[in-house]
Amino acid sequence: MSKYKNVKDEELMHRLTQGDESAFNELYERYAQRILLFMYKMLKQDEARAQDFTQDVFLKVVEAAESFDRSKNFKTWVFTIAANLCKNHFRKNGGDVREFSSSTQITNNGGVEKLELEVKQKALQQEIAALPSPFRETFLLRYHEEMKVKEIANIQKIPEGTVKSRLNKATQILAEKMRAYAQVQY
């Protein structure tokens, strides 16, 4: 069991500024998986790139440790780094192009209900990945990271009202896509 198991993230950051490697390992343990999954979904399930970006996020954590304000929330800070990396990536690569992968092919094995659920889940994953990046980021922070609207507003540097409208819009888009998908399937 890590000696830092009960230490707060912000305190770990303070120790990290003093060069404490164990503090960094504890932070990595707590957040690496979540950041990786967030990246994975933001980058349309490109695992290799998601791994690279996750490494970059934690590299930034080490490099910018001194600039972290301990009165602020570490989770918000680290996801802001992750979100900014994604934004820069999309900016460099000329926007957010929708991609469909072959993994959406449905295999007819298992019960009908389970199959239906799997099909729906796969389709939903695809549609989430295909959302325009600002909506996708807001949607993932809300339902994947279970963040509060206020926290998301801080990360994306937008008003809380905009966060809510983006969530509503994202939900509307997904509902429309899923309805169209259901009409094609059935």
Binding site: R34, I35, Q51, F58, V61, V62, L124, Y143, T171, A175
Partner: protein, 206 residues
Amino acid sequence: MDILNLLETKNFEDLNTAEVNFVCQQMSADEYKQQREIIVMTQGLFAEDISQPTIVPLPPNKALAALKNKKKSGILLLFQSKISLWKAAAVFVALLGTYHYFIQNSSTTKAPVYITEYVEKEVVVPADPDTVIKEVVVEVQKEKLASTETSSQPYKVGELHQISPLRLNIEEMAMLNNLEAEILEMKQKDGVRVSEDSITRKVLGI
């Protein structure tokens, strides 16, 4: 009341009248149900993702290497830290200005003065005298002296010493005293000492 909050927490069937009215002002019941389904499915999907991750993060090699370098650098940070170009230029201009200022000031300073001669002056401090000789002036009553000079009357016995016009100092007085004593001790032709002579005694008032 917040539509997002309702979508995240309640099925359409669970809404109360006020909430149903609120929802129906913004969308149809079917739309609400579809959006509600999306949110519920998403939450289930992501919960599964986190509990059973399909991918695991790689060891943070880059970050650990950076952390080790950071620890090593220590004093080298002074040289490794980056500053913007305008700051560097500003410092350069400031240094150049300071250098020119000192150069100009040093050219206008006076020529140096060298010491070529040492002058020594002897100061004589007078010693305190151990003996003080004071001159004592014996004043003579001028009126009486004047009267004696003009008077033809003989001097009265006993007043002879008072008409002395002399101003004597101590040494002279001592000398006179000695002389007087010697005279008094002298003997006359008949063998009688002057001091025992009756006339002399009357003259001197002895």
